[in-house]
């Protein structure tokens, strides 16, 4: 029985340590306050919504996509994404961007759009 525990134990131990280390390295926190996002030195997942009035820009030369995002308190920041506009961006109710705030912009390496898709109906709230 000994070999079993030695082999199994070593592998599990090595990977747990490695995992613990990598987990702290790749650990990303969700932040919904842009004031905190702007001062954070780490990569974060910023959650908020796209400011539709400020439109978005697609720069074909630099291959970037940029837009303005606001958090629930109305704090705004400009987001630049190296890549193209995600599907469903226009209809997204909330946006989660992963990246870092630097030099006045949030540099996103990933954009996740949450849609008011099939799961909920927009509530109409003003009667005629």
């Amino acid at each position: 029985m000994k070999n079993k525990y030695v082999f199994g134990g070593i592998i599990i131990a090595v990977f747990l340590v490695l995992m613990g280390y990598l987990f702290t390295q790749s650990n990303i926190e969700y932040v919904d306050d842009f004031n905190k996002v702007m001062v954070s030195e780490k990569v974060v997942k910023a959650t908020g919504s796209w400011v539709k009035e400020k439109n978005y820009q697609i720069d074909n030369q630099n291959k970037t996509f940029s837009f303005v995002m606001a958090d629930q308190n109305g704090n705004q920041m400009k987001v630049i994404f190296e890549g193209t506009i995600p599907n469903n961006f226009e209809s997204a109710t909330s946006v989660v961007v992963t990246g870092k705030y630097q030099n006045g912009y949030f540099h996103a390496k990933d954009i996740l759009t949450k849609c008011p898709s099939k799961y909920e109906e927009k509530t109409a709230n003003s009667s005629l």
């Binding site: 029985m1 000994k2 070999n3 079993k4 082999f7 199994g8 592998i11 599990i12 990977f15 747990l16 490695l18 995992m19 990598l22 987990f23 390295q25 790749s26 650990n27 990303i28 926190e29 969700y30 990569v43 997942k45 959650t47 539709k52 009035e53 400020k54 439109n55 978005y56 820009q57 697609i58 720069d59 074909n60 030369q61 291959k63 193209t84 506009i85 599907n87 469903n88 961006f89 226009e90 209809s91 989660v96 992963t98 996740l112 759009t113 949450k114 849609c115 008011p116 898709s117 099939k118 799961y119 909920e120 109906e121 927009k122 509530t123 109409a124 709230n125 003003s126 009667s127 005629l128």
Partner: protein, 808 residues
């Protein structure tokens, strides 16, 4: 109503069956038949309820909330199968599908168990506990697909309603408009339905269309992915039931042979289901990959990894039973069988409870507290039952095997394989569960962790088949592995020299993968000449090796470039000459296919990425085009299309300066600049250089519709911002760019992206298609590998099915 009644009766039968089977196990001989009858009655009712749901979908019974929410009339035009697949378009239906498949699996299980000694009452008592939970899930108190739309007041768009009844006097009380979109709704509530039926109109007559499905889900692979995945989930119930049955009897010998074929078939099907999801992502989503370590993907991978780990140690236990006793790793196997099903339930919890709300693209929306608690109860019950029973029997679970595994024994190699697979499962589990605690991991966490694991797995994959059971001689082992070692080293050198591979970890992974491949091919070839039924394991391992090679090629050596293809002008990228020729409409003018000619040497291919505006969510959907060549895929994902301007002027057509009182036209809309809007104090503020705000009033007319809007120039803290106007109805967007004395500069664009955003047009007057093009070397091996692996699982299953008939 009928559906809910059927499901409630089925629930009663499931409970009766569970009690009868349990009583039979406790010694009441005459209850066995009642248990069987009740089970079959339950299964028949579940099948009937499913048929009824399908019938209601096909006949567009939009009075059911589920059918209104996930299907519509236009799905019918795509075919009966497309419409029928909205059965599992949402949460309620996917629980229903899971229940249906579990019930059918149970019919087979009952017949299987009844032929194997006194197994049936124990196995079925546990199995019916699972069907009971699923039936409670779809019962009228939880996620019932037969809930009427009015039970929770729902706003239904006027387009989905029959307008001939709009003159009914009471309609006005229930009519609402959303001011931002001018969308009219009628609130369907209990009071409304009561009034409607008084007027002699049924709800089914009143609601004439549904919301439909996200167009990205309307893909063949996405439609067969859920049923296959849920067959895998349903079959994972069986090894759990066998393990508990063994613990109940306190006899751990026979369950191993009996559960083995179920484990193999279940994991084979689950693996196939997971792959189909990846294939769909690759073909539809256009980001170029098949696996993103997304929580929803991960959550079904975790039970698969644990189940496959279990297959390896089950084999050892079975093998070691030859010497008498219950065999090696009896506790491990019980735990893994329990864990596989518990993790299936955990997967359901992660994806259905809303805990991953922010983390996943396709996580379901919060189902409410009561469902959340029920999912925890479901998971908790099976976890406690499984691990509680194992702990309860811990002391009697004695393997009575004194001899240690030799370092060079297949037993130890397989045990190590199990450990490595479990390590992989733990990594995925930790990463996927992190969002519950408000954290998330970057995908490099999974990739970095799996690289060393994959190296070990592939090495074991080869070496374990060369090592003999119990003990092998080192010299003999070296001699046997000589061919595979030499061949894999040759292969890796070729890869380094020709393929330009130079990262050390990738070299190691290629080496061990090639080693595994050659060992397995070598043995498989020998077997084909001899005993075919032994082939399963080798086929499965060849599949995994090919899969890993495909992953290395497509993930590590993929090249990607964004290019602008000007109509008729060839662009050379990635070694291919690409020319955008033209576009045409497809599928009844609902989608646009952009034809691109891809040329290399004398070979010429045509591909056509697709873009269209989806009515479902009013956004642009892009579908990639994939050109599958012998050694790689060329993957062309559309980014945008710009029709270019027709005017000779340096300004493109959609930028214009407009004087006060003048009009211009764009896309069939007439736009008039009416006046400036300025507060009295603005002039003062302007002169003092302070912040101020100023508006330009525009009148817009299109197709007889008139609207007025005000575009603003806002200045705060010296920063100037302009607002814009958007109308989905008119497919028009107007950006204010400049305000000066008597003149405004504005830019027009369409909302469907057919015209780009003004200033970024690279070449005026040309039609430009922007694409992201990439090469995916050997990506086909990913699919081929998984299919071969699944085939191996099934070959093994047929062999183990024969073994399971032998009762000690």
């Amino acid at each position: 109503m009928i559906g809910s009644v059927i499901l409630t009766i089925a629930l009663a039968f499931s409970i009766i069956s569970m009690i009868m089977y349990y009583l039979n196990y406790r010694g009441y001989k005459n209850t066995l038949n009642y248990g069987r009858i009740a089970y079959h009655a339950m299964a028949v009712l579940v099948i009937a309820a499913s048929i009824f749901l399908w019938y209601a979908i096909l006949t567009h019974q939009y009075q059911y909330n589920y059918i209104y929410s996930y299907s519509n009339n236009s799905l019918r035009n795509l075919g009966v199968f497309q419409l029928a697949s909205s059965f599992w378009g949402g949460q309620e239906g996917s629980f229903m599908l899971w229940l249906l498949l579990t019930s059918i699996v149970g019919i087979i299980l009952q017949s299987y168990a009844s032929k194997r000694g006194d197994l049936e009452p124990r196995v079925m008592a546990v199995f019916t506990l699972a069907t009971t939970f699923l039936l409670v899930m779809v019962s009228p108190w939880f996620k019932n697909p037969f809930e009427y739309i009015w039970m929770t007041p729902t706003f239904v768009k006027v387009e989905h309603l029959n307008s001939q009844f709009f003159n009914l006097p009471f309609i006005q009380q229930f009519y609402f408009t959303d001011q931002s979109s001018n969308q009219g709704f009628i609130q369907i509530s209990k009071e409304f339905v009561a009034q409607l039926s008084q007027a002699g109109v049924s709800l089914n007559q009143f609601i004439v269309d549904g919301k439909g499905l996200n167009p990205q889900l309307l893909n063949f692979w996405m439609q067969i992915h859920p049923p296959i995945l849920f067959i895998g989930f349903s079959m994972a119930t069986v090894p759990f039931a066998f393990a508990i049955a063994a613990l109940m009897k306190n006899d751990y010998k026979d369950w191993v042979s009996q559960a083995f074929p179920w484990m193999l078939a279940g994991m084979g099907i689950l693996g196939l289901g997971i792959m189909l999801g990846g294939y769909w992502a690759y073909e539809m989503l256009g980001w170029g990959g098949y696996w993103a370590w997304d929580p929803v993907e991960n959550s079904s991978l975790i039970p698969w990894l644990v189940g496959v780990a279990g297959i390896h140690t089950l084999l050892v236990q079975k093998r070691s039973q030859v010497k008498g006793g219950i065999g090696k790793y009896a506790k491990t196997n019980l735990m893994l069988a329990v864990l596989t099903y518990v993790l299936v339930l955990y997967s359901t919890f992660l994806t259905r409870s809303g805990v991953l709300g922010d983390a996943s693209v396709h996580s379901f929306v919060d189902p409410g507290m009561i469902v959340y608690l029920f999912l925890i109860l479901f998971m908790g019950t099976f976890t406690l039952l499984g691990f509680g029973m194992i702990l309860f029997r811990w002391k009697t679970l004695n393997e009575n095997i004194k001899d240690d595994e030799s370092i060079l024994s297949r037993e130890l190699a397989l045990f190590t394989a199990m450990i490595v697979l479990i390590a992989s499962a733990i990594i995925v589990l930790v990463g996927t569960s992190a969002p519950i605690f408000g954290k998330a991991v970057d995908t490099f966490f999974y990739n970095e962790m799996h690289l060393p694991l994959a190296i070990i797995i592939m090495f074991l994959n080869g070496i374990s088949l060369l090592i003999k059971w119990q003990r092998s001689d080192l010299n003999e082992l070296i001699k046997k592995s000589l061919f595979a070692a030499a061949a894999s080293i040759m292969f890796t050198i070729l890869l380094i020299v020709i393929g330009g591979v130079h990262e050390i970890m990738i070299i190691l992974l290629s080496l061990t993968t090639a080693f595994s491949l050659f060992v397995n091919i070598d043995i498989a070839v020998k077997i084909v000449k001899g005993n075919m039924k032994m082939l399963g394991a080798y086929v499965a391992h060849i599949g995994i090796a090919l899969f890993i090679l495909g992953v290395i090629g497509s993930a590590v050596y993929s090249e990607e470039i964004n290019i602008n293809l000007i109509k008729g002008k060839p662009v050379t990228a990635l070694g291919y000459e690409m020319t955008f020729t033209n576009y045409n409409t497809i599928e009844n003018n609902t989608k646009y296919a952009f034809n691109v000619k891809v040329k290399k040497g004398n070979s010429e291919y045509n591909v056509a990425p697709v873009m269209y505006m989806s009515d479902f969510n009013n956004s642009l959907v892009r579908e990639p085009a994939i050109l599958t060549l012998l050694t790689k895929d060329i993957y062309i994902s559309p980014l945008g299309y710009d029709e270019g301007g027709q005017s000779q002027d340096q300004h493109s057509h959609n930028h214009i300066s407009l004087e006060k009182g003048n009009s211009t036209e764009f896309g069939g809309a007439k736009i008039t600049f009416v006046k400036f809007n300025m507060a009295p104090e603005t002039m003062q503020l302007m002169q003092e250089g302070k912040d101020f705000q100023m508006g330009a009033v525009l009148k817009i007319e299109k197709d007889g519709k008139k609207t007025q809007t005000e575009l603003l120039r806002k200045q705060t803290d010296g920063k100037v911002e302009f607002t814009s106007f958007e109308s989905k109805e008119m497919n028009l967007k107007i950006d204010l760019e400049k305000l000066s004395a008597g003149v405004i500069d504005i830019a027009f664009s369409t909302l469907d992206g057919s015209e780009s955003q003004g200033s970024s047009i690279p070449t005026v007057g040309n039609e430009v298609l922007s694409v992201a093009a990439s090469t995916k070397p050997f990506v086909s091996l990913v699919w081929v590998g998984v299919v071969i692996m699944v085939l191996g699982f099934f070959i093994s299953m047929t062999r183990r099915l024969k073994d399971s008939r032998i009762i000690s």
